[in-house]
Symmetry: C2
Subunit: 371 residues, 2 copies
Amino acid sequence: MSDDAAPAPLLHAIVPAGGAGTRLWPLSRRAAPKFLLDLTGTGRTLLQQTFDRLQQLTGGAITVVTGTAHADAVRTQLPALGAEAVLAEPSPRDSMAAIGLAAAVLLRRHGDVVVGSFAADHVVRDGAAFERAVREAVTVARAGYVVTIGIEPDHPSSAFGYIHAGEPIGIPDDGAPTARAVRGFTEKPDTATATAYLATGEYRWNAGMFVARARVLLEHLAAERPALHAGLTAIADAWDTPARPEVLDRVWPTLEKVAIDHAIAEPVAARGGVAVVPAAMGWDDVGDFAGLAGLVPEVGHVRVLGDAADVLTFDADGTLVVPAGGRTVAVLGIRDAVVVDTPDALLVTTREHAQRVKQVVENLGGRDHLR
Amino acid sequence: MSDDAAPAPLLHAIVPAGGAGTRLWPLSRRAAPKFLLDLTGTGRTLLQQTFDRLQQLTGGAITVVTGTAHADAVRTQLPALGAEAVLAEPSPRDSMAAIGLAAAVLLRRHGDVVVGSFAADHVVRDGAAFERAVREAVTVARAGYVVTIGIEPDHPSSAFGYIHAGEPIGIPDDGAPTARAVRGFTEKPDTATATAYLATGEYRWNAGMFVARARVLLEHLAAERPALHAGLTAIADAWDTPARPEVLDRVWPTLEKVAIDHAIAEPVAARGGVAVVPAAMGWDDVGDFAGLAGLVPEVGHVRVLGDAADVLTFDADGTLVVPAGGRTVAVLGIRDAVVVDTPDALLVTTREHAQRVKQVVENLGGRDHLR
């Protein structure tokens, strides 16, 4: 199969739109997860910003993989997407199943195109740097690599995984001046380890952006996780046929839950098959309110996501206020506070404790309507 | 004039019910000031608790002086009060005008009875100790003194005025074993001065409780503030007549704004005419949220004024939460926080900054509906 009259896109983007964003509670909820929210005050949700960022590169060849519960919301937020461009997962099976399904479906629809996965709930402030990196990644992917885009770290974060870059790789037509072979991936390190990583200059943050030819990706999957590959193959074969519901119902629940990092990136890197394109693009995974604080407008010495007229602060430098409850919020004498006001739930904490918000959600008990 | 069949009460209580309670914003508002609120989670407002406390001592002879804006609310909260027992002030003229008016009206209605002023927005936890102190104060008042009840300080507060007690006074029938002459009153001292006061054992907190014969009080007023006395006399003469509205409208706005402490207590003390009955009664003026925190139920290591089921806290020892907005409130990682959630305004601060809440109210700007 191949595309019709339109020029073939540089790459087909796969946007896994999942994840609860639990650490952004009470803003992010089961019914309105992080990617469906405007978390930067731009008027566009994170999903919409992701779409906007990929539009030019892909000519609209964007496939969103999301849970059935959110498929309608995704279609509403992205009216330009064709009906078949939203793949609805019956249940969450982690990133390998989501990306693998999309790659397998795209292979059947468009042949051995280059695909790239880009999370629906991250922020990229420098779109031009993002585009340059993706273009280089596509060049490297065409040569047969699985390519990850490695974010230049600006502090020794213990919240991200790291990519260890090795020697530059040689691409015949010199279209990949910065790409390097990947020596390995590491899980979130402690701060001391992260500091040591940064000192070497060889480490980049893993932002979960993977670019590869669809066939390359699926061949690695077949080699590394044959059962998962077989299941996804069965589903993809049925996807654009009347058999889809039956096959999906039967096979999907049996798929292994595993991240693409573990299923493919790590083992393939060990064999020299993964490259990294480093990039400084103002990336943020908006992982918690401390991260969010850096992304929203500063009003005085305070960050406000929402209407600044609803916020009054006194000696509260560094505070983040989200006045989403329609009320006036006053903060007095707490620095780096985080106050998130919604119509049915209020969170008060500090940036320092932002990573622990998950603990609140885990202890909501019978308050199921607040999840 | 004198009372009819009912036995004459020990004293007639005068309850000035005014004061915005600005430091308790957003709980306390112009339309719903502190005295009209249940601030201790007992189901009774501070005004109602004051009434309850005085009921036994006065046999119901309680007169409330309040602003016209709150007269209806006072009557609603205290249905046992007779229609004439609420004196409505056209505008606030400070405590001397309020108490002086009530004393003058009571003198005309009941003769030279003992009157006692008790603020509508204070808390007394030991009702028996309060009653003992008032009974002794009445005995001393009958002998012609202006008597204040002096609260035994339990810490060197800089938030209260102090009473300097002198020698014991001799009352013929020995009905006043603890009363002492007052050497003087002092304004709110700094903490160092307050500490020095406490070391002497001679100082008590001034809780604004004054007990005296109505005629004694008014004679002191005539001597110290003749114009104010003349104005109040004119109004009291007209109070229970059809001339009241006209006289009140004409004279009330001309009255001097002065506290009873300055108008009577201080100068009369200098002449040896004031006595103090010391008392430890678990008194609190509920001046700010730090004070309030000590008065509401403890749930775990947190204080909650409201439904504890609406509150979730983690590492937030000493925190006060007022979940009055109908929402779930989560506090994470802030000790001694103060979170006051109401339907239209939210305050987030700490006990340390509780005194500064006034600053928030002063900066509400155009948000007049929140005052």
